[in-house]
């Protein structure tokens, strides 16, 4: 929503001295947020109206002319120009002239305007002195599109009808002594999508009187209802339809004041009739439409839904496919407009129209919004209607339009109005409760002050009932809390004091992290301490990910939560795996030649419940990924450290598997704990790594935090530091190559007894000195007792048990 400040000041005359900045700040603080503003004459200095007295050829340049220009001083000034629309031998044109020492906004090419404008100084052009410059609109920083009378290329020439004199302020004559404000209007304030609505807020904000235009009664002694009848067949979609008739239409240009105001709203003036409808739309926020009366068959307007599959040609010449939810304006025989969106080609006004019907109606906002979207034709009108307009405004607007027709002499207004308004809105009443407003706000504002704030907002007070009477255009005011906001807005949010909540919560609520947060925090500490940096990836991805990762057609991972309106296929499924996000991040790093990359992510995955009406299971998967330094066992170490840090004190089970298609079939492991699956890890399958552009070994590990939550513990118990020395023994075995070392560790664990403290692999050998299908494994085992020094009698029997079990499994002892 844009308005000109001059227009607002005309409606609130007391604001005359308010500066642009004051206006911006005050309006923003009272709730009409100014997004930005542009002072149109910021860089326009010393620019006057000049009358061209003579145009002569330049003696030395074909494309230049030498003009004598009357700028309202005793002597004319000489100006050399190359403008194509100033021809030798002509005279009498009124043009904007920037005098020596003045300033313009930009160059004549219409490129971006320089921050500080362009200074104009006298000088010589091909040897002939020039004391200023005649200006094109581009040089004045104006949008030439909004000046239909401007020459396509060249100096702007004022219409002689303006009655300008040489020396007049040209900036003012062009309406450029103004500032345009752009507001962010919240969707509850439908009334503020209009100049009058903004002006009313401005009046309340600055405490000056609001003077809206007074609409005088209009019309001849005929009656519009003799010309036309209206029937609403879809009252749910059209709450009011008003129509007035204008005959003997006289087309012509609008007066300068109207053009200027239309331009300030970014609207190009066209002719008086079109301009009037646009002007009233800007003023009241009420879109209007003008039909050619001659094209309306049976003198009847019917508002009804279209039928599925119908088509209709709108006034822009395009054919539109209709459906049963689109509201149409019809006459006795045919459709003549899409309600609230665009009129039809068959009823549009043309230059030889004699009689017109003005429509000013109230359509259902939601229906218009949805229809406009389905038709993909969001128009100025639909943009207003979709907010849900006040039906009371419809009549005001059509009367205003007719008053303007009379004022502009654009035609003869027929008396009376056809007004179909089956269910008029009434003004809401809300109890006036100053104490509860103060209690909610934490203020101490007097009831008198409150009532003073309401006055300019046109909220009346019925003292006998102690009720506030809400104007119909304020659809947002329904409850005490809404009134409290009005009080706060005009008291000033900034004047409300700042306190901290008291109440029982100050003692009853103890702040802190949830257990889930503490787990996440611990994980982040553990991962970063091990050199892994935290990554974040999107929750949705392409369904193609499953093919990329090598999943079979019937893999359960392919059962996903689907987004019905995704940004594109690449973002259409909620991930059931964190693999793709991690590999994508690693791939990005690889392609940017980052070395030794280590990342982790606390990635949510979304597992469908199987029931459409239920929410999916959201699980956080701690995901590690790396390439460069390190191998499978380094990452296994990271997993182990992390589980240790989370208090999973028992032994984790690692089992070779081959079920994860994105991992190397011989280098992947399942991770179990207490018989429960808690994760997996492995080296990425080279085919998959290649698809992510990584030509290096990549390792991934996954821990399902939901699965380990029951085991996580932050309890710590001091166990004491060993007081007695340890005894260590080495064991060296030859075993079959395909037997996992984990089996030997299992033997040590199960046979080691209470005195077993730890064990450590110190040698692993495969090669010539041993059989081809064998490997040699050597462990260092440490025993310790908390209460004594261990002797051979303690350790030997344990070692014997270990040896026995090894022998039983066919592991051969190396001496």
């Amino acid at each position: 929503m844009d308005t000109s400040l001059n227009w607002i000041k005309d409606l609130v005359p007391g604001m005359k001295g308010v500066t642009d900045e004051e206006y911006r700040d005050a309006m923003t603080l009272s709730g009409t947020k100014v997004e930005c503003f542009e002072r149109l004459n910021r860089n326009l200095e010393n620019i006057v109206v000049g009358e061209i007295l003579s145009v002569d050829r330049h003696p030395d340049a074909d494309k230049l002319v030498v003009c004598q220009v009357n700028v309202g001083e005793a002597q004319p000034v000489q100006i050399v120009t190359g403008a194509p629309n100033v021809q030798p031998g002509t005279s009498g044109q009124f043009v904007p002239v920037v005098l020596d020492g003045g300033k313009v906004a930009g160059g004549h090419d219409g490129g971006p305007l320089p921050e500080n404008g362009i200074k104009i100084k006298k000088g010589k052009l091909r040897g002939v002195e020039s004391f200023g410059m005649m200006c094109a609109l581009e040089e004045l920083g104006a949008d030439a599109n909004l000046f239909p009378d401007a020459a396509e290329d060249g100096i702007y020439i004022f219409s002689p009808d303006l009655g300008l004199k040489p020396g007049d302020d040209a900036v003012k004559a062009l309406g450029l002594d103004d500032a345009i404000f752009e507001y962010e209007i919240t969707n509850n304030r439908v009334d503020c999508y209009s100049v009058l609505g903004i002006a009313r807020e401005a009046a309340a904000t600055f405490g000056h009187e609001f003077k809206p235009p007074v609409t005088k009664p209009t019309g001849n002694n005929e009656n519009a209802s003799d010309y036309i009848s209206v029937e609403i067949k879809a009252p749910d979609l059209c709450s009011r339809y008003t129509a007035r008739v204008v005959k003997n239409v006289k087309f012509g240009p609008s007066p300068e004041w109207m053009k200027r105001r239309l331009r300030s709203c970014g609207i190009r003036p066209i002719n008086n009739i079109v301009d009037i409808t646009n002007y009233v739309m800007a003023e009241y926020g009420q879109p209007m439409h003008a039909f050619d009366y001659e094209t309306i068959e049976d003198q009847k307007i019917i508002v009804d839904r279209a039928k599925d599959g119908e088509s209709f040609t709108t006034l822009d010449g395009n054919e539109r496919k209709l459906d049963g939810d689109i509201l149409m304006i019809c006459d006795g025989k045919k459709q003549i407009g899409i309600a609230g969106i665009m009129g039809g080609e068959n009823s549009m006004i043309t230059e030889d129209v004699k009689t017109i019907v003005f429509e000013s109606a109230t359509f259902n906002g939601t229906n218009i919004r949805k229809s406009a979207k389905r038709l993909s034709m969001r128009t100025d009108a639909s943009g207003k209607f979709e907010k849900g307009l006040d039906p009371e405004t419809a009549l005001q607007a059509v009367d205003r339009a007719c008053a303007l027709v009379e004022e502009l002499g654009a035609g003869e207004v027929v008396g009376g109005v056809v007004d179909i308004y089956p269910d008029p809105v009434s003004k809401k009443r809300i109890k006036f409760e100053p104490d509860s407003y103060n209690a909610l706000l934490g203020t101490d504002i007097s009831r008198t002050d409150m009532l003073k704030f309401f006055e300019p907002l046109e909220i009346e007070y019925d003292e006998s009932a102690n009720e506030l009477i809400i104007p119909t255009f304020r659809q947002d005011l329904n409850l005490g809390a809404d009134i409290a906001e009005e009080v706060a807005r005009f008291f000033g949010y900034d004047k409300v004091s700042s306190t901290l909540p008291s109440g029982t919560g100050a003692v009853d609520v103890v702040g802190g992290l949830s257990f889930e947060d503490r787990v996440n925090e611990a994980v982040i500490d553990l991962a970063t301490a091990q050199g892994y940096s935290q990554s974040l990836t999107y929750s949705f991805e392409s369904p193609g990910v499953f093919d990329k990762l090598g999943f079979s057609e019937d893999a359960p991972e392919r059962k996903t939560v689907l987004i019905s309106n995704p940004l594109g296929e690449d973002f259409s499924v909620m991930r059931t795996l964190s693999v793709n996000g991690m590999l994508t991040s690693l791939g990005t790093n690889y392609s940017r030649r980052n070395e030794n990359v280590k990342l982790f992510e606390l990635a949510k995955v979304y597992i469908p419940s199987g029931n459409e009406d239920e929410l999916p299971d959201e699980r956080t998967i701690l995901t590690f990924g790396c390439f460069g330094e390190g191998d499978f066992f380094d990452l296994k170490g990271v997993v182990e450290n992390t589980l240790d840090g989370l208090g999973l004190s028992k032994k984790r089970e690692y089992r070779a598997v081959s079920c994860y298609p994105y991992l190397h079939p011989g280098r992947q492991a399942y991770v179990g704990y207490e018989g429960k699956t808690i994760g997996h890890l492995g080296e990425v399958h080279p085919d998959v790594a290649e698809k992510y552009g990584i030509e290096d070994r990549v390792y991934l590990a996954f821990i399902d935090l939901a699965a380990i939550e029951e085991f996580v513990s932050f309890e710590k118990l001091y166990e004491g530091i060993a007081n007695f020395p340890a005894v260590t023994r080495d064991i060296s075995l030859v075993m079959k190559r395909d037997v996992p070392v984990g089996e030997l560790e299992g033997i040590i664990e199960s046979k080691g007894g209470k005195i077993l403290e730890s064990y450590r692999l110190f040698d692993l050998y495969e090669g010539e000195q041993i059989g081809e299908d064998s490997k040699s494994v050597a462990y260092n085992i440490t025993f310790r007792a908390p209460d004594r020094t261990l002797s051979d009698e303690d350790v030997n029997p344990v070692m014997d048990k270990i040896f026995e079990e090894c022998a039983a499994r066919g592991f051969e002892l190396r001496k």
Binding site: L440, L441, E485, P501, S533, S539, V561, M574, S585
Partner: protein, 339 residues
């Protein structure tokens, strides 16, 4: 004998003086004081000394022994000292050679910002809670006073799974879930991921994060909301930070406000970061709408409350001067390493 002794002392002391290694010194010790040493040999000759002279000679021998062993000890400690200082001289290093650094992992900037925010609110007695990201339409919209035909529900903003389930567009549904538990007073924040159908660019992402806040208790006022957010912003951005509360509209709060803080780079004078305005918008807030409270069975005659929603990325981008939101989801380690 006396002469022999004197000669031995002189010779030995000379040798000690010229000795340059610990080995030489221990050789001297052995050759003089050892079992078969010269002095020991002389002592063996004592049996030939006349008994009346023995005491005197004995003293002479003992004196010689302590003189020699004293000299040896001195020399040894001197030599040790010299050797140590020589070693220290040799071991001098160039301390300006590069450090050997272990790779440290880094938190994501979002996480760094979140932890800062969480610390502040936990300090003010708030609990941190969570809700689902894939959420019922009811919690995301209806319970928050956003009726079925509200423009915010249009498909262009919201990702739908089906008629009843959406990707939450805000963390506000957690408010409803917490209220429904029926335990009042409430002081909570709910950080989490939210989704909007925005194309990816420098300032938009279809996934981003918010931090919801809510307080419900007896006598909670708009002034309390102001005071709380002022305390928060001063902690986060510095004590000199000022706040501007602008009236705004949210369906689930009334009165509502948007809050700007003085630009933490220029302090409010206007700079590139605040686009010359001196102020930066950081959050939306308001008093919880009576309809929302009623729907959650909160007794509005007794209780009132406020709520606020902070854009986490907004804080992270502004506070760390990150100029492109896409960087947050690329996970380039050269980016992550800066936090």
């Amino acid at each position: 004998m006396e002469e022999q002794l004197k000669q031995l002392i002189d010779e030995t002391l000379d040798k000690i003086k010229t000795a340059s290694t610990p080995d030489e010194l221990s050789g001297i010790r052995v050759s003089v004081l050892g079992k078969k040493g010269a002095l020991t040999g002389l002592l063996k000759g004592m049996k030939n000394v006349a008994p009346e002279e023995r005491a005197a000679v004995g003293k002479i021998v003992n004196d010689a022994k302590s003189a020699i062993s004293g000299a040896l000890e001195n020399a040894e400690s001197e030599l040790k000292k010299n050797l140590r200082s020589a070693r220290l001289r040799e071991e001098t290093i160039d301390v300006t050679l590069p450090a050997k650094k272990k790779d440290l992992g880094h938190r994501h900037p979002n996480r760094v910002a979140l932890e800062e925010v969480e610390r502040i609110f936990i300090g003010m007695g708030y609990e941190v809670v969570h809700g689902p990201e894939v959420e019922f339409d009811y919690y995301n919209f209806e319970a928050l006073n956003i009726p079925a035909d509200h423009p915010a529900k249009d498909e262009q903003d919201t990702f739908y799974i089906n008629d009843k389930i959406v990707l939450r567009t805000q963390t506000s549904p957690v408010q409803v879930r917490v209220m429904e538990k029926g335990k009042i007073p409430i002081r909570m924040i709910a950080p989490g991921r939210v989704f909007r159908a925005d194309e990816v660019d420098a300032t938009h992402s279809p996934c981003f994060h918010q931090i919801e806040g809510m307080v419900i208790d007896e006598g909670i006022t708009f002034a309390d909301l102001k005071g709380t957010l002022e305390s928060f912003a001063k902690r986060l951005f510095g004590e000199d930070t000022r706040l501007k509360f602008r009236p705004h509209h949210f369906p689930f709060t009334e009165p509502s406000a948007e809050v700007d803080v003085t630009c933490f780079k220029c302090g409010g004078k206007g700079c590139r970061m605040c686009k010359g305005e001196g102020w930066i918008e950081i959050l939306g807030c308001g008093m919880i709408h009576p309809k929302v409270l009623e729907r959650c069975n909160v007794d509005t005659s007794k209780y009132s409350g406020f709520a606020f929603g902070i854009g986490l990325e907004r804080i992270a981008l502004l506070k760390y001067e990150i100029d492109d939101m896409r960087l947050l989801y690329e996970n380039d380690v050269r980016f992550l390493g800066q936090f």
